[in-house]
Amino acid sequence: MSDAPEMKATQKQMADARIPLEYRDYCAHLLIPLNKCRGETFYLPWKCENERHSYEKCQYEDYKRRMRVLDKARLAEEDA
């Protein structure tokens, strides 16, 4: 995929951290500490705010990137 970011978390790290399959994406390296923090604080919503914010920001950036890719693909399809 064009301008795809670097996949920072390895398969092993994600498996060890029991990251759900559907979330083993470009932001998984931020999900590992978030879930670790969540587990340590019983998933209370007012804890792990920094980790959650970083993770959600990453997901947001990735979402925008995917939309850019989709737009490019659509344009290319229209041109063709």
Partner: protein, 654 residues
């Protein structure tokens, strides 16, 4: 401990049921309530160990069916999904037990009632803990039977009999789907264990997956009262109110949703079935919400609300957002149990009056009950930041976030249903508590608040209805949460939570809330401020037709009775008369016995006591014997002929 969670309710049911005369009313109260409270506490421990500490537990008790071809064991599995189900089941069950000690205190059959309640809890636990489809099916049937017994608890009431039979028969349609699904699963996978089936599901033909999933969906539709198989749920309100709270709001009706959740590794590989599930759920949510708008029975309004909320849960499953489905299931269990138990307090206070048109003005007489119903209603309406808000709102967002036709349909039907939900909730409050007293004076004279023992469960459920959603939202539905482990499976292509979070325009996010506020406000205006205007709406043909249509529940019962049931009854009568009592009696065991009896009678007529006759028999026999030896090739033919002659029907001489 994990087996104690299962056995305590079973033992308490057995003691209250079989030793009811020995332990007495108070004894049965103490035994069942203490067992259930203890079990609920153990469920918290299980939730901590299994869910929060990520330590699933698997127990293999013993082998059940070992035919070399089929291996099924009595196995129980505690994973995150199971312990998440244990919480609402056991908390609500324990609270309903406590509540019932007062509510049912005057009933002469307390032991039987508490035995049934505990038995239901046991079967529900078996359903959610079973590690294969067959154990789950035992629990499934068990809760069905318990439901029948509890709806029919006051068995001298004709309406209760009818409602119980209706519940059983409608559920049987779902059970039929489940049993065919079991065979389909076994035929496809060669096993019924969840672990085996789910491991093999990705490699199976999609058509087979779809067939299995349709069977499971039919089962879920029956148990979870989805459109078409829903008619039993409103009628089940004939049972005692604590039963409605426990079985027909919080727990048993969620068994169908649980089946879908548990089967997520199968459903995810059938794209067609996910679309069907979404449609069924969305249509149910809409249909039930519209029907609830104009019901006049207090409990039936809440029953249709349950039906509608179950629709939300089902379409969350269809959208592959199982975690949100179970989150709404748990949240709904708390606020709906609160609503039912509060409704019970109103009914209790008004001499068992359930017609909202004969209520009104209770806010000054029952302020505590009013507060409880208000909390439950606001949570049901998904008002920020109550429990219901965190799940219901997100279900609508993920529906929109799919950007597919089905998702859009679900979003719009769900949003309109949310408006209607607010409308009927506030209509209920207005008619029951706010408007002028409309009931007979005698009902108001004895009005009293719920006693302490009934109030405690209400307060606890109210606390859950306010705070549970917020406290557990990151646990259940936090983006990327690893709480679920592998108990729920979402195909990576079906994730829509990120889109729901970031991609939906604010307008569409706020629309359900705005709609709810509008719907609720409109109900207050129509039923509290301008009640005469509301009545005048039915004075024209269109208004009257619409009122009848919704009040008569889309004519579902009439259609079923006139078009299906009457024909089925005729068919049953015919088969009974011509097949069961006709052909089968002629050639079956009864017929065979008759043939021998007639033959014996015929043979005895030969015994006349007249010597020349006997000489004639001997002479004839000799002739036949000689003929047999000389002319018939195979002597067995002769014996056959002889028997045929003897067995010929003949007129009885005696």
């Amino acid at each position: 401990m994990y087996l104690a969670i299962l056995t305590l309710p079973l033992l308490s049911a057995a003691v209250a049921g079989f030793l009811g005369r020995k332990v007495g009313t108070t004894g049965s109260h103490l035994i069942t309530c203490s067992s259930l409270v203890l079990t609920a506490l153990l469920a918290f421990v299980a939730f901590y160990e299994v869910g929060l500490c990520q330590s699933p537990v698997s127990i293999k008790l013993m082998s059940w069916i070992d035919s070399e071809f089929m291996l099924v064991s009595w196995g129980f599995n505690y994973d995150s999904l199971t312990v998440s189900m244990l919480l609402p089941v056991l908390i609500v069950s324990a609270l309903v037990h406590i509540y019932s000690t007062s509510y049912m205190g005057e009933d002469p059959h307390n032991q039987r009632f508490f035995s049934y309640l505990s038995m239901f809890t046991f079967f529900m636990l078996m359903l959610v803990t079973g590690d294969n489809y067959l154990v789950m099916f035992i629990g499934w049937e068990g809760v069905g039977i318990s439901s029948y017994l509890l709806i029919n608890f006051w068995f001298t009431r004709l309406q209760a009999n009818k409602a119980a039979i209706k519940a059983l028969v409608m559920n049987r349609v779902g059970d039929w789907g489940f049993s065919i699904g079991l065979w389909a699963i076994f035929w496809t996978f060669g096993n019924l264990d969840f672990t085996t089936v789910f491991s093999l599901a990705p490699f199976m033909n999609e058509e087979l997956i779809t067939v299995i999933s349709i069977c499971l969906l039919i089962a879920a539709m029956g148990k979870s009262a989805q459109i078409g198989l829903h008619t039993w749920l409103p009628d089940a309100m004939e049972g005692p109110t604590p039963v409605s709270a426990l079985i027909h709001a919080a727990t048993m009706v969620t068994a169908g949703v649980y089946l879908l959740l548990r089967s997520s590794p199968i459903l995810e590989y059938g794209s067609t079935i996910l679309i069907i599930i979404t449609w069924v759920g969305a249509l149910t949510a809409f249909f039930a919400a519209t029907t609830g708008l104009l019901q006049n029975d207090l409990k039936r309004v809440i029953a249709y609300s349950t039906c509608s909320q179950l629709g939300y849960m089902v379409f969350a499953c269809g959208l592959s957002n199982y975690s949100i489905g179970i989150f709404h299931l748990v949240n709904h269990a708390f606020f709906k149990a609160l609503l039912f138990l509060s409704a019970g307090a109103v009914i209790h206070a008004l001499n068992d009056e359930q017609d909202m048109r004969k209520m009104g003005g209770l806010v000054n007489l029952l302020p505590f009950t009013y507060t409880m119903i208000l909390i439950g209603s606001l949570s049901l309406m998904a008002l920020p930041f109550l429990t219901g808000f965190y799940s219901k709102d997100l279900i609508l967002e993920v529906a929109f976030g799919q950007y597919l036709f089905t998702g859009n349909v679900a979003y719009w039907l769900g949003t309109i249903s949310a408006v209607f939900t607010a409308f009927y909730s506030l209509r209920l409050l207005a008619l029951t508590f706010l408007t002028y007293p409309n009931g007979p004076r005698i009902n108001y004279l004895g009005t009293h608040e719920a006693p302490f023992i009934m109030a405690v469960p209400l307060v606890l459920l109210a606390i859950m209805s306010i705070f549970f959603g917020y406290v557990t939202k990151d646990l259940f539905i936090g983006v990327g949460t690893n709480f679920w482990g592998n108990s729920l499976f979402v195909h990576p292509n079906h994730v829509s939570l990120i889109e729901a979070e970031f991609a939906i325009p604010t307008f569409y996010k706020l629309l359900p809330l705005m709609g709810s506020l509008f719907g609720g406000g409109l109900a207050l205006v129509l039923y509290h401020v301008f009640p005469l205007f509301t009545i005048s709406l039915t004075e024209n043909t269109l208004g009257r037709t619409l009122y009848r249509f919704l009040n008569q529940k889309y004519w579902f019962d009439n259609i079923y009775n006139n078009l299906i049931l009457s024909k089925l009854l005729n068919f049953g009568y015919t088969t009974n008369k011509t097949l069961d009592r006709g052909v089968i009696e002629l050639v079956g065991p009864y017929g065979l016995v008759n043939v021998f009896k007639n033959a014996s009678t015929k043979i005895t007529t030969l015994d006349t006591g007249f010597i020349p006759s006997y000489a004639m028999y001997i002479f004839s026999g000799l002739i036949v014997f000689i003929t047999l030896i000389f002319y018939v090739g195979d002597p067995r033919l002769f014996l056959l002929l002889l028997w045929a002659v003897l067995l010929l029907p003949s007129k009885k001489t005696a």
